[in-house]
Amino acid sequence: MKNTWRVILSGSGGQGMGAAGKILAEAAFLQGFNTAQSQTYGAGARGDLSQSGIIISSEDILFPLIEKPDLLVILNNKSYGYFAPVLNSSGNGRILIYDQDYAPLPKDKTNWSSFGFTVVNKAREIYSEKAACIVVLGILTKLWIPLEKTNIHQAIQETFSDKTALRNIRCFEEGLKLAEN
């Protein structure tokens, strides 16, 4: 049984990488997992390439940063360049999730199991691109990471003020639905 998940969310600054990473880590923490979360700082967080890494484990986390993710989420084309070495390496059991509109999977790019979703446009439709990664959280927790829905809700409520929290919860729920289809 899998007991450690290493997740990297990668996209453009302003797509909620930092907030979603923090929420995922908080939800895992609420559920009793060990967790470590990190994110890129600086110009990246203001519109360039931006990333957040989350380790969730039922064991002690010795090294808190991610060398190679088990779950890689890509929301912009630029991220393919950055992760080329990782995606060219063995994909044994590793999963790539990408935005099919803004980061369509280039041909023969990887031998990782890959899944495309309409994430960014969905977030825009319901609320804002800022919540793109919150939609992703719905997909991740439905398909791969066994976190309770209520814990994600609570983490969202702890992160945002009331009105914004409700909007983000809707984005998360939409992610759950996307994963069902």
Binding site: Q37, S38, Y41, G42, F63
Partner: protein, 377 residues
């Protein structure tokens, strides 16, 4: 009460300072230490303390020293370029024997370097940045929990030894979010600064020593305090007498160096009888630990010594652990600053292998692992 929370390294340092009793923060915004400045601006108000954003780092450490001399536990936070500006006044605090804590969140240098990126290259700067002979305490945390615990310890040691204590954090540790158990003041062992019990008349600020540390009053107390960065007599008045100068400067070193058993000891992980030993600190010790764990599970034997007190350098323990090793790997994200210290301990250079990285990224477990495997083959 003990509370469990997810916090960044920077936040953990800030809560630790508050819980250790710090009620004064002066600072200047600098990446990657800024979050400490920001959080202090909120917390100090909540705790009836003082937050002040000064005009530069020189003024920040000066205000911290002033507040401490007024009797309040005080601290600041900065990074390389700011630390460089603070160095003259850190030397002043050492000379005048003023307790204070400086959180130095290392970033990539020299100079402005890459402001947002990681490095462990201030090992020597924190110790030798300020001119003149004196000792100094530097602690290096390797996790968010450690950031909390060692910040509390930094305040205790600064009060106990009346010296600046530098917490050597880094850009990676500062921003990673991990679980931390926050022990609140009731559960913390906090050292209270000794107060003079001498008669007020004729009180000599540097005249009564306790374990080589003067029992000093605070500004505004009945016992008149005299403080100077000049060589001074027990009265606190200046002097250029060679005998007084020598006695003072030697005591400044002795009061710390002769009491090293009171400082956080290095931690040993893995196999005591291993022929391959890693020496590391900070977040590089976490990568080393993962690598050591992997080899000890299946391959061969290795051990890891994590330095928590960097200065004074724990020579005795390092020599003891390294004496039986065939090869010692020094894992650090710099050109080899701790490696130099191991050489100065008398460890033959040919027994040492540096595992270094200077590209502004952290050293990873797989990099340590390959170095271990190479040495084993």
């Amino acid at each position: 009460m003990t509370i469990k929370k997810l916090l960044t390294g920077n936040d953990a340092c800030t809560y630790a300072a508050i819980n250790a009793g710090a009620r004064f923060f002066a600072g200047y915004p600098i990446t990657p230490a800024t979050e400490i400045v920001e959080l202090c601006s909120e917390l100090m108000t909540d705790y009836n303390g003082i937050f002040i954003q000064m005009e530069d780092e020189i003024a920040s450490i000066a205000a911290v020293i002033g507040a401490s001399l007024g009797g309040t536990k005080a601290f600041t936070a900065t990074s390389g370029p700011g630390l460089a500006l603070m160095s003259e006044n850190i030397g002043f605090a050492a000379m005048a024997e003023v307790p204070c804590v400086i959180i130095n969140v290392q970033r990539y240098g020299p100079s402005t370097g890459i402001a947002t990126k990681f490095s462990q290259s201030d090992v020597m700067t924190v110790r030798w940045g300020s001119p003149g002979d004196h000792s100094l305490i530097v602690l290096a945390p390797s996790s968010v929990q450690d950031s909390y615990d060692l910040t509390v310890e930094a305040f205790n040691l600064s009060e106990r030894f009346r010296t600046p204590v530098i917490l050597l954090s880094d850009a990676a540790l500062a921003h990673v979010r991990e679980k931390v158990e926050i022990r609140e003041p009731g559960e913390l062992d906090l050292y209270q600064r000794k107060k003079p019990s001498n008669p007020v008349d004729g009180y000599l600020p540097y005249g009564t020593l306790h374990n080589d540390v003067p029992v000093m009053s605070n500004f505004g107390d009945e016992h008149i305090l005299r403080v100077t960065g000049l060589v001074h007599q027990a009265s606190g008045y200046s002097s250029d007498n060679p005998r007084i100068a020598e006695e003072l400067v030697q005591r400044l070193a002795r009061k710390i160096d002769d009491y090293q058993e009171e400082l956080p000891a290095p931690l040993f992980y893995g196999n005591q009888s291993a022929e391959l030993i890693i020496v590391s600190f900070g977040i590089s010790a976490r990568a080393s630990l993962e690598a050591v764990n992997i080899v000890n599970k299946g391959g061969f034997k290795a051990g890891m010594l994590e330095l928590r007190t960097i200065w004074p350098f724990p020579r005795k323990k390092v020599k003891e652990v390294c004496s039986g090793a065939k090869k010692i790997l020094v894992v650090e994200a710099n050109h080899g600053q701790v490696r130099e210290l191991l050489i100065s301990c008398g460890i033959p250079p040919e027994k040492l292998r540096g595992v270094n990285k200077q590209n502004a990224e952290v050293i990873t477990p797989s990099e340590v692992l390959s170095a271990l495997k190479e040495e084993n083959s």
